[in-house]
Amino acid sequence: MSVDISAVLEELLAFDKNAEVEKITSAIREMLRGKVKRRGLVVAISGGIDSSVSAALAVKALGPKKVFGLLLPETDSSSKSSERGKMLAEFLGIEYLKHNIAPALDAIGCYQWRDEAIIKTFPDYGEGWKNKITIAGGTSGQINHFQLVVEDPDGNQMEKRLGLNEYLQIVAATNYKQRLRKSVEYFHADRLNYAVVGTPNRIEYDQGFFVKNGDGSADIKPIAHLYKSQVYALARHLGLPDDICNAVPTTDTYSLSQGQDEFYYALPYREMDVALWCFNHDKPPAFLAEKLGLSEEQANYVYGDIQNKRKTTAMLHWNALTIEKVEGPFSSPE
């Protein structure tokens, strides 16, 4: 599908990487010193590009002795992610801990609730089967809806549109993973008197691709202003290992391999970067259509999807609403 995204990507990547690293690392120090008042940072390392670059920037800002890494795999995590996470922690020279959260997720019912909803859709689902959710609708003007894909132990894949209750239950159950990880991160942050790093990139932050009180929760988010392609560029600039620089974005949340674009975005990440950049720079749909090889109508749908996700996920960013403004230093960190 990609036709001429190179010109936009070139513009996106034409930033001074040294200056960017300096800007982020001095801001991290300033935030810890002036606002957060903690003496180090906890970073959960998934083995993906965002957490790797966030951890590397934390180390650049504070040195390896003030950064604590966490590897938090569970039953559906890919073993490659864990290996890459371990490789990164050792590459950065930070202290780290691997804590398998599967027993805790099992105890709280995460897998059981999820499987109950899957079985309502595919009654034969059971031991040895795999699953994932995919999104449909984004570039075709349809209302976004979700398909459940399962694979039996013989490798046969089947797909059905998810009913509302089953969809909500599967998502609620899998959100336990991000929320439990965050509890573990804050345990170690409290124990060490550190702050917690959130690792969303700009498209995740802007489009609300995170779990409230899960991966969305953090004290600082050092790469939330960077497009995903910029994060990859910084990974190479920071000299991170090739396996990490070449990591393909996945959600690492479902047992079948699932690209982020399958689950949430209308487009793969490079195209999504280009679409969001064009949207933010007031480029008309015809411009985006030409860059991505879409029809103008499809480009309009992509812009509509961006606006819609921004609007519908805004509340994920908010703190709890109060009936009237309660004044105090907690109103704003300034």
Binding site: G141, I143, N308
Partner: protein, 81 residues
């Protein structure tokens, strides 16, 4: 009760938390006016499938069929006809 009134009552009760009929215009775009998000639309689909005994196909999940009371009324009439 008419299809339109059934839909209006459902939306007023569940999304606008009122029984004041003036709060909802049957031509209002649910998503445009921020009455529903895409999960809300999924709830509406669930509701009309149960209530009117119809099946909404994937290709029918477009705003023209689902994004206002008027659109829903026309869509349900077409499906039931």
């Amino acid at each position: 009760m008419s299809v339109e009134q059934t839909l209006r009552d459902y939306i007023l009760e569940n999304y606008l938390f009122t029984d004041d009929q003036s709060e909802l215009n049957s031509a209002d775009s649910f998503m445009g006016k921020g009455i529903l998000d895409s999960t809300g639309i999924m709830e509406i689909i669930f509701f009309i499938e149960e209530q009117f005994n119809i099946k909404v196909e994937d290709e029918e999940m477009v705003p023209e069929n689902l994004d206002s009371v008027n659109n829903l009324v026309a869509f349900i009439a077409k499906k039931s006809g």
